[in-house]
């Protein structure tokens, strides 16, 4: 794949969180890439680092979070090196993010109008729009996410709206900025089961209509499968498997992916990975070698010592697991 046909490329990304006492080594050499117009899924149980990855891309980690190594290329721009102006420009007009928790993503002490107008003001900076123009754009966006009575919504405070309505507002805001790429971080957590499917359908339609690229994080595996072409599986801050969506579900390769799909909840309300024995890694002292080895039913000696790299097993499938390394490769590594 050539550079030109890649929209976003994350290369070997390391992210740590620092608290007063501890350092949490969360992202541990993550690489992903997205082609223009492509929709990819990102799945993994709670705490795998999915949100951390998405926030790193926009460089909006909280102050405790640090990117310590790696590259984030948006087209040809390295987001870790570029000027502040370029970064702001990309945040305003290229990439939009839907935050995980609709109840937490809107500012509680401002009206929706105030928040949307501020956002739109910077997206349309330099085009001489008046406040009333911006309000009309906001109304139009709210209509697009199928909110009934958008005028009332615009004049409401977040706590006056239901969870589903708030999430639609958040989607409308993200759409304003996502003119090329949408990062959708579990857009349906904390919502009623009935509304979850509606919201995902809405996102799917909007992305289709606007020809956006998308990274979709979700625990609703069925929806991820139908909405994306390719899926990354994340465990403990690593990408452990990458595969075309249908193939991943028909024949998961990584032991973690197998367990994840086996234990996938039948209804989409619960969290992924609930049925898998053991706990996610302690990021303060992550296990050496493969971070999954303490929970892996097939763990071998080498798994405790050597970190498996994401390798190509056949034309479109990649997996990071020693089970799939060629036998002589293992020998070489063990020496």
């Amino acid at each position: 794949m050539s550079e030109a046909s890649t929209l976003l490329k994350v290369e070997d990304l390391y992210v740590k969180y620092r608290s007063y006492w501890y350092t949490y080594h969360v992202l541990d050499g993550v690489s992903i890439r997205i082609k223009p117009g492509e929709k990819v899924g990102l799945i993994g149980e709670s705490g795998a680092g999915k949100t951390t990855l998405l926030k790193s891309i926009l460089r909006i980690l909280p102050p405790q979070g640090r990117i310590t190594k790696g590259k984030i290329l948006y087209k040809d721009i390295n987001l870790l090196r570029c000027s502040k102006g370029t970064l702001l420009e990309i945040r305003r007009k290229k990439v939009g993010m839907i935050f995980q928790d609709p109840l937490a993503a809107l500012n509680p002490v401002f009206t929706i109008k105030e928040q949307m107008v501020d956002i739109l003001k910077y997206i349309y900076k330099g085009s001489n729009y008046k406040k009333s123009d911006l309000e009309n754009i906001a109304l139009e966006l709210l209509r697009e996410v199928m909110l009934p009575d958008p005028e009332r919504v615009l004049n409401s405070y977040p706590f006056q709206l239901s969870g589903g309505m708030r999430q639609r507002v958040v989607i409308a805001m993200a759409l304003a900025s996502a003119q090329e790429l949408l990062l959708a971080d579990e857009p349906t957590t904390n919502l009623d089961v009935t509304i979850q499917a509606q919201i995902l359908k809405l996102i799917s339609n909007l992305v289709e209509k606007r020809r956006l690229s998308m990274v979709l994080v979700s625990h609703a595996l069925g929806m991820v499968r139908s909405m994306t072409k390719r899926i990354y599986v994340m465990y403990g801050g690593n990408i452990v498997e990458e595969a075309p969506s249908s193939k991943l579900f028909n024949e998961p390769l990584h032991p973690y992916t197998q367990l994840l799909i086996e234990n996938a909840p039948k209804i989409i309300a619960t969290k992924l990975g609930e049925g898998i024995k053991g706990n996610p890694p302690d990021y303060r002292y992550p296990p050496p070698g493969c971070r999954f080895h303490p929970r892996c039913p097939y763990a071998m000696d080498i798994c405790k010592k050597v970190k498996p790299l994401l390798i190509k097993v056949n034309n479109d499938r990649y997996v990071a697991c020693h089970l799939y390394a060629e036998k002589d490769m293992i020998k070489k590594l063990e020496v």
Partner: protein, 350 residues
């Protein structure tokens, strides 16, 4: 129509602020009873002290009768209350004038001091709290931490002595005492020197009055400001990692707008009550600082009243202080309601 009116009344009755106002009035009444009793059971003969040691006994006796001092306490209180409802606080035993007239003379100086103190305190808190809270661990954050520890340890009167010594007596940048320079005279309208100067159109006097206000206000503001800035800072530190702030980062809003608007306002919700309490307490806390700067405020009247056992004066000063405290608190309640819509619309907890 009458039904509407009734529901409106009901709404008022239900509003938190109305209830607090009523409750405060009741507690003021309680306060009056306590201070009234205390002032009278303290040893010392107020009539004798007022008239001096050489006044003939029968004159003193007549004076006692005039003040009902020979009657039982509850009757005395009853008379006092009866007068109060006619807007009278009684005759001062020092100035022989209505206490309310005396207080009206001295109170504006204290209120003016309180107001500038509040302004310095609020601006300082917001600027330092936001700057250090939006970049925890930065140099400015470290500096604020040190300043906060110092500020909290040092009481206002010590700041007053320190500032006065350095900036007035050593450097001579600010006047050490009084409200206005000798030689400047402006007609009294409101009793607020700065406002009266503006009314008189005397800009020089306005600046001069501000100059006099600055040091005592700063002395009063510093300690509280240090503490409040720390409180605001920790609320900010918590809020800047919240999604409802990061959302605005993700849309490419300038950092300053995100911090000073979308992180600051939710953080203020927890800071304002503390600020309000500190500002309300100024009415009493200003006493020592007023004395140091020879400020002709409530302290001047209050302290003479205590030393001379001016019964009505003491009760009057305490009550007015209580009233100002109460009013300030109600204003703060209103401000909190304005800042936090969740309270304004009564509910909507997450």
């Amino acid at each position: 129509m009458p039904k509407n009116y009734l529901s409106y009344l009901k709404k008022i009755y239900k509003s938190v602020i109305f209830r607090r106002a009523v409750l405060s009035l009741l507690s003021l009444l309680g306060l009056s009873l306590i201070i009234f009793t205390l002032a009278r059971v303290m040893p010392g003969d107020p009539a004798r002290m007022a008239l001096g040691p050489r006044a003939p006994e029968e004159v003193v006796q007549r004076y006692r009768e005039l003040l009902h001092l020979n009657e039982p306490l509850y009757l005395q209180y009853y008379y006092w209350l009866r007068d109060l409802f006619q807007g009278k606080l009684g005759i001062s035993l020092v100035s022989f004038r209505e206490v309310s007239i005396d207080i009206a003379e001295f109170l504006p100086a204290t209120l003016e001091l309180m107001m500038l103190t509040a302004i310095i305190q609020i601006i300082g808190t917001i600027v330092f709290g936001t700057l250090s809270g939006s970049r925890p661990g930065s140099i400015i954050d470290g500096a604020l931490r040190v300043f906060a520890y110092i500020g909290i340890c040092i009481p206002a009167f010590a700041w007053a002595l320190f500032l006065q010594f350095i900036f007035s007596y050593q450097l001579g940048w600010f006047p050490p005492t009084e409200r206005i320079s000798p030689g400047i005279s402006i007609p009294r309208v409101t009793g607020f020197m700065t406002i009266d100067a503006l009314i008189a159109g005397n800009f020089n006097a306005f600046v001069d009055a501000l100059w006099h206000l600055f040091l005592p206000s700063l002395a009063l503001a510093l300690g509280a400001m240090a503490q409040e800035a720390r409180i605001l800072r920790s609320a900010m530190v918590e809020n800047i990692s919240k999604d409802y702030v990061l959302t605005f980062m993700s849309h490419g809003l300038p950092y300053r707008l995100v911090y000073f608007k979308y992180a600051l306002k939710p953080s203020l919700v927890s800071t304002i009550p503390v600020m309000g309490l500190d500002i309300a307490s100024l009415i009493a806390n200003a006493f020592m600082v007023e004395i140091i700067f020879n400020w002709p405020g409530l302290s001047k009247f209050g302290i003479t009243a205590m030393l001379r056992k001016d019964l009505n004066g003491i009760v009057g000063v305490v009550l007015v202080a209580g009233l100002i405290y109460t009013i300030t608190n109600i204003i703060v309640d209103v401000i909190i309601t304005l800042v936090d819509p969740r309270i304004r619309y009564g509910g909507g907890g997450e």
